[in-house]
């Protein structure tokens, strides 16, 4: 066994780290926090110019041929830097899915514009009555000659207000089993009939509800086969489950350690010297290493040519559950001072632990809830019998 990273991965990591140190300024982080939009066009286009949206693709498709290990290092560094990279993740996911399931026209005209950072995408999967059961999608697409007419509503269309395309899951056949009547589209956001309503979250992030009323799109915007949308979803979901939040967990712990090292109790003792504080900091540090290793294990398996479906799911489940536990423990060690919000003068740790405590609650929900993840691990990993109806 060897836990060290190959020199080329360390070199790429150093390159990414140097870039991020220069471009992810406090101002960038503060602006994302203030607006709730975890996307920064300047940073996005700079990173696109570095070729990092397609870094993992083979050179024949314009990529850098980066290995899964290098890609994990890239993700790790992005999250460690605190960069607002939600947009980068979605753009990369959609482009990658188009590379696999898209038409020649989509590959020729849309992919290059995504990769150059010119345009961005958002995901239109969830609906009011279709969350974890995403195949229950009710947004209708009906064929009309060379066009499709779309009517429906999507929840949590994060970045819709910045995006040029929505990657939209629709129902094209209501008369077959629910997974078999879905079709995916990449709909331009400037198409008439799309309305965006902002939704503000407890974590401070802005997301949206998007409404689709008689939205007409040309058939060339269809991704994959008619009624073949589930297969496209399955392609796209593989890109969502990993331990990306490890970097946020490290930032949280670093923030708490720095605070506990400088803060003093009534008797003038450093808080970090209190065993009650030390135990929780140590526990968070251990969980961070486990999260890190589960993420690298999945990346290593991918590098070895294996498909880390269960292992990537374990990384997502563990990292996000640990993140919440750590945030809970670390806001507690701040005591009542932990209540002051980010931006309040004199807030402990500048209010970042409080902000993190709110933000991290969403991480066990999006990209596959913890319950969905546990179901996958139980059924595919442990071979336990299926627990629910698929109808």
């Amino acid at each position: 066994m060897d836990f060290s990273l190959p020199p080329e991965v360390e070199a790429f990591r150093a390159e990414v780290r140097a870039f991020l140190a220069e471009h992810v300024t406090d101002e960038v982080i503060e602006r994302a926090h203030a607006t709730g939009t975890m996307h920064d066009w300047g940073l996005h286009r700079q990173m696109a110019a570095e070729g990092w949206l397609s870094a993992g693709w083979p050179a024949e498709f314009g990529g850098q041929g980066r290995s899964p290990l290098e890609m994990n290092a890239l993700t790790e560094e992005m999250y460690l830097s605190g960069a607002p990279v939600d947009g980068l993740g979605v753009a990369s996911l959609v482009a990658h899915t188009l590379l696999i399931d898209g038409t020649d026209w989509q590959k020729r005209t849309v992919i290059p514009r995504i990769l150059s950072g010119e345009v961005m995408c958002c995901l239109g999967y969830s609906e009011p009555d279709a969350g974890s059961d995403v195949a229950a999608c009710a947004t209708r697409a009906v064929r009309d000659g060379d066009e499709w007419v779309i009517n429906g509503q999507k929840m949590f269309t994060t970045l819709a207000h910045e995006a040029h395309y929505v990657f939209l899951l629709t129902r094209t056949n209501p008369d077959v089993a629910k997974h078999e009547g879905l079709t995916m589209f990449l709909v331009p956001m400037d198409t008439p009939g799309i309305e965006i309503t902002p939704v503000h979250t407890m974590g401070g992030e802005r997301t949206n509800i998007t409404f689709y009323t008689d939205v007409r799109v040309d058939d060339r915007h269809r991704v994959g086969e008619v009624d073949g949308g589930w297969k496209v979803m399955m392609t796209a979901l593989v890109f969502e489950r990993n331990s990306a939040w490890y970097g946020e967990c490290v930032r949280l712990l670093d923030t708490a350690v720095a605070w506990a090292t400088s803060a003093r109790d009534a008797d003038g003792r450093r808080l970090i010297d209190d065993p009650l504080v030390r135990e929780r900091l140590a526990r968070a540090a251990v969980g961070n290493e486990v999260a890190n290793l589960l993420g690298w294990r999945a990346a290593w398996m991918a590098a070895e040519g294996q498909l880390p479906g269960v292992e990537g799911t374990m990384a997502k489940l563990f990292t996000t559950e640990h993140y919440q536990q750590a945030a809970d423990d670390l806001i507690d060690i701040l005591g009542p001072e932990g209540l002051r919000r980010h931006g309040e003068p004199g807030a402990a740790a500048d209010g970042w632990v409080e902000a993190t405590y709110r933000h991290c609650q969403v991480t066990t929900i999006y990209g596959g809830t913890s319950e969905v993840c546990r179901g996958i691990i139980a059924e595919r990993g442990l071979g336990l019998p299926r627990s629910r109806s698929s109808r």
């Binding site: 066994m1 836990f3 991965v9 290990l69 003093r264 251990v286 489940l317 139980a378 071979g383 336990l384």
Partner: protein, 336 residues
Amino acid sequence: MDLALSGEQEALRDTVARFFSKVASAERVRAAEPLGFDAAVWRGLADMGVPTMAADGGATLADVSVVAREAGAHLAPVPIVEAAVTNRLLTRCAHAVDDTTVRTLALRPATGGRAALVPGGAVAAEVVVLGGGDLLLVRPGPTGERRAPANLGSAPLADIDITAGRRSLLTPADGSAVDEHARALDEWRALTASWLVGLGRAALDLGVSYVKDRRQFGVPIGSFQAVQHRLADLATALDGAALLADKAVWTLDTDAPGAATFPAMAFSYCGEAAQRAAAASLHLHGGYGFMEEYDIQLHFRRAKAARLVLADPCRELVGLADRLFGPVETSTGAGR
């Protein structure tokens, strides 16, 4: 990066797994209680050269870890981790070692002339003890100098009177006695972590196969999400624990950054994961799990015992904090 065993390690794993399946079956594990030692199992490992395999640089701690994980999975009634670590420590003290002699070390310094609850101490011919800042090699006599109390994990623990019997002073080639003991203790932490991963996974396997077979309300209880999700969390925790134990062993073998922290992290986390897995698996057996006749109680008792024999787990975490964040400042700061 390579997270797989080498070909040689796979062969070693298969060999010891076959050996334990034959010689350390659940019946034999039970028969070895309450002492927790089976001389035939020890002789088999000695014949394979396991106790000294990593003593002279011939094999690595990673190789011993492969054996430790299988030993944990089978609850093999032998102090193999203690012996491997002690033989390495004795080699660093230019003291000759061999495979047949059972050796161990006291995890905590002796106090009042007594080393308490020494793992393997009930059956070891030679015991390394840190006492008064010195490393002593104690050879307990046949009577009166050690007492083996019945204990939760049915392990061969003993309280050893180090003032009686024969003893000699050990001199480390370099480093102080205290430092050498600390190094041995970190090796013990990393290898015991690996042993606990083996135990935890075996306990999880028992639970998983039980809930696949056991039917209530007309269906296997393994189809209930309340059952599935608990097992999924534990499978995840144990995978993380295995990676952490492997990395801890690797940091020690290669003197990599993290060698000062990973053994303690692995011991803490692997112990917790194994204990949770054994407890959940026992619980999912229902009333049967509480019966002596079912094997899961063997895992349950040993998981807790292997953690607690070193220290209160919370104190271990506080000790880890010293390594991660620096020692506690004793003087008060500028606020006074």
